[in-house]
């Protein structure tokens, strides 16, 4: 039976990272993973909620868990998945803090409902890499990303804190590396793969993002990459949308495109640029995609 998961897109999935959400859904469909949207879901609280009030944060995330619980049996769900590592961290933190009965009682009081919160919670990436195996994705490849030299950028929370996330090596994760290799790309070693991009500081301390994201871009260029590949909406936004700010602050002229891995998976499996929403990227991947097409054309 094909796996079926409750799907939590996260707020950015409907806005700033629409291309991530869309290409993730397409990827899941072609892999035979059925997604059941959590009806009437709400924001997980993102960074602000847990920064000011743990109870608030747990209630926001907990409400989503409760809705998923409610349909788990009827829809035979294998768990809850989300493409966004930050949402994932909030959902998993909440699940963990609910194991404290006292805290759980408070959350249930606010929500007015008992909570089970027993479904496994994973990132889409984890399901693809650990449950299905990257080979499953490999089998879908029609036009390998041959000649494309990429560095995978996981961001700081996809694999951390290790005891919460329980996914891959917290210091040197390889999930994306292996996945991208399976798509035919040339994956370069990338020492900054789990460094922080500046995350939510982009709104209040642009200088910090300019410095931290600037380094990631510098290192990607030094490594000889044609593109950076991410699995996090916030990382992608900082590296991509804030590129002019970063370049200005650092007097740099970086123009590397920053993809979501799901976009490249779609591209390699022949879904085309429109379906994978390549036009949503701020730094245009045009030149790279043209040369990729040429490359594939030559081989064909």
């Amino acid at each position: 039976m094909s796996p079926r998961y409750a799907y939590y897109p996260g707020c950015s999935g409907l806005g700033s990272s629409l291309e991530y959400d869309t290409s993730t859904r397409a990827m899941c469909e072609s892999l035979g993973v059925e997604l059941v949207d959590i009806p009437d879901w709400n924001c997980c609280g993102s960074t602000p909620a847990h920064a000011v009030d743990h109870l608030l944060s747990a209630c926001l995330a907990g409400r989503n868990l409760e809705i998923a619980d409610g349909m788990a049996e009827e829809r035979k769900l294998d768990g809850i998945i989300t493409p966004c590592p930050s949402c994932l961290k909030n959902l998993k933190t909440t699940q963990r803090s609910l194991s404290d009965p006292e805290f759980r009682r408070k959350v249930e009081q606010v929500l007015g409902k008992p909570l089970r919160a027993g479904l496994p919670i994973k990132s889409v990436l984890q399901v693809v890499v650990e449950d299905l195996g990257v080979e499953a994705l490999g089998r879908l490849v029609k036009t390998p990303l041959a000649g494309m030299r990429v560095v995978p950028y996981y961001g700081c929370i996809m694999v951390r804190p290790p005891r919460l996330m329980r996914f891959d090596d917290p210091e040197n994760p390889m999930a994306l590396d292996n996945l991208l290799r399976e798509l035919g790309a040339e994956v370069l070693p990338f020492a900054l793969k789990t460094d922080c991009c500046g995350a939510a500081l982009g709104t209040v301390r642009k200088d910090v993002v300019a410095r931290l994201s600037g380094r990631i871009l510098d290192a990607a260029v030094e490594a000889g990459a044609d593109a950076i590949v991410t699995a996090c909406p916030l990382c992608q936004m900082n590296l991509d949308m804030r590129r002019p700010q970063i370049n200005r602050a650092n007097r740099s002229r970086h123009n590397l495109p920053v993809f979501y891995y799901s976009q490249l998976a779609g591209l390699a499996s022949g879904q085309g640029e429109a379906a994978t929403m390549m036009d949503k990227l701020c730094v245009s991947p045009r030149l790279l995609l043209n040369s990729l097409a040429q490359h594939t054309g030559e081989r064909a």
Binding site: D169, P170, E171, N172, A191, L192, A219, E222
Partner: protein, 651 residues
Amino acid sequence: MNIGVFVCHCGSNIAGTVDTEAVAKAALEYREVVFATDAMYACSEPGQAGIVEAIGTYALDGVVVASCTPRMHEATFRRTLERAGLNRYMFEMANIREHVSWVGKDKAANTRKAAELVHMAVEKLRRNERLQAGEFDIAKRVMVIGGGVAGIQAALDCADGGLEVVLVEREPSIGGKMSKLDKTFPTVDCSSCILGPKMVDVAQHPNITLYALSEVDSVDGFVGNFNVTVRRKAAYVDWDACTGCGECAAKCPSKKTPDRFNEFIGLTTAINIPFPQAIPKKASINANACIKLTKGKCGACAKVCPTGAIRFDQKDELVTEKVGAIIAATGYDLFDFTKYGEYGGGRYPDVITAMQYERLLSASGPTEGHIRRPSDGAEPRDIVFIQCVGSRDKSIGRPYCTGFCCMYTAKQTILTKDHMPDSQSYVFYMDIRSPGKNYDEFTRRAMEEYGAKYIRGRVSAIQPKNGRYLVKGADTLLGRQVEIEADLVVLAVGAEAARGAGELAEKLRISYDPYGFFLEGHPKLKPVETNTAGVYLAGSCQGPKDIPSSVAQGGAAAAKALSLLSKDKLASDPQVSGVKLARCIGCGKCESVCPFGAIEMIEFRGMPKASIIETVCQGCGVCTAACPQGAAQLRHFTDNQILAEVNALCL
């Protein structure tokens, strides 16, 4: 029988939570107890004098002391009895410290329990016999396992004291870690110059037999009479014929063999002598790298060997040695530096271990003492040292401090400056631990005279950057993040138990701690003894140690072995099993369960009977439990005695 009972306060250790006076009073009610008292320290001079006096005054013929564990003072009090003219086995100990006062806080309950334990001891003592120890012959030879500096010291001291020594080393040469070091703290004298002569002494000492490239296969027997089977691994070279000329290595075409001695920096040949000062100076073949042994062709070494010593068909050989004592000196191994992903050990060529750095510093190392980066052979300028790599970290199961890496890191910064005056060393540390004689002065010198910059904090990541490495960390004294660009990063890897230490401990029947280090007999009072008679410990196998402490322990272990084997015969423990022939039906169950092979089946008036070999019996009591007839009885722990104790407790 007239029994005397002495209840010890052990200062406040016992008296704090046990009413010792009440226990003594209760004891007066027990059968045949004619005298009972409490004492401040029963084991002290006045305490023992009190026992001797009471034995005289009250014509005691048996004594119970209620105090600490018998492991601590049973032997002490037995000697006290002997001084007063009693048989040493007319003594019992009730452990009211470890079993009572240290584990319970309720004084009334403790006092009751202590009195009951005394009652049991009295009932057992009433059935004790006046046992006499026998004697047995011993082998005046000692085996030292492990030829690091601790084992070398132990072997030389034993040999100088007149014992025959068998030294077993699993590597092709003795010397251990010290033979890989360049210079040693805190005097910065050359390691080979101080160790080399000792290694030569081992080779030349008439009393020492050296088995290099050998390991202990099995151990039988007991103190005074161990039989140790040693596996001499195939070197594929006849060492009697080999002169160590090195012609073979010069001609060997397999030149890309990983160089273990040089910590895998650089390459060597399949046949080699690991280093110029090796003892024995004999060639051996790495079977995995040898073309002849893997592919069947080559044999270049055999063609050039002037003495025809090469033996491609050599097999492992087993030899058995009879020895009276064994000294384990198997040292330590180093923490696997690839385990911390954030440092990139194993991924980045210029992130190396401190032991690899020692090889780079050493004039006989792969770079002839020039510090060169493994990646491109360039001379580094900025070097970052990271301490506590694999030490003091619960998350990786290494909560202990290795104890010598602070010191060797300071040494390495000093040597770095000596080698390259324009270089700059940075040291990330958690705390500086340098409590030895002249040690703290040494680390201060590294900072003050040699300009090493010490940063208190951990490193979060190392990342390649423009051909160098960006080392990111915290300075917890300034509360700031720091970033240092380095050409080379040296990880001060901690010590862990030697590979295979657990298996060896099981062969020797000694205990080891959760990390694999061997357990000493008592953490303070028996630092080189073990709980198995005749087996001693020296050096880092007992816990990480620097050279001075390892040498001191090697000497101490040798002194223990010498004093044990200075006697011609050892007294056997009479508390062993015996078989009542009238009851024995000759079923042989006891023979099959005895773990020491101490039971033989004999014929007695035409009937099969079991018989105990008293010098082999260790008094474990397994046969008494197995015997369906109650014929096998452990002296001093007979069924009747144990039942009497149970009755005292329960009736």
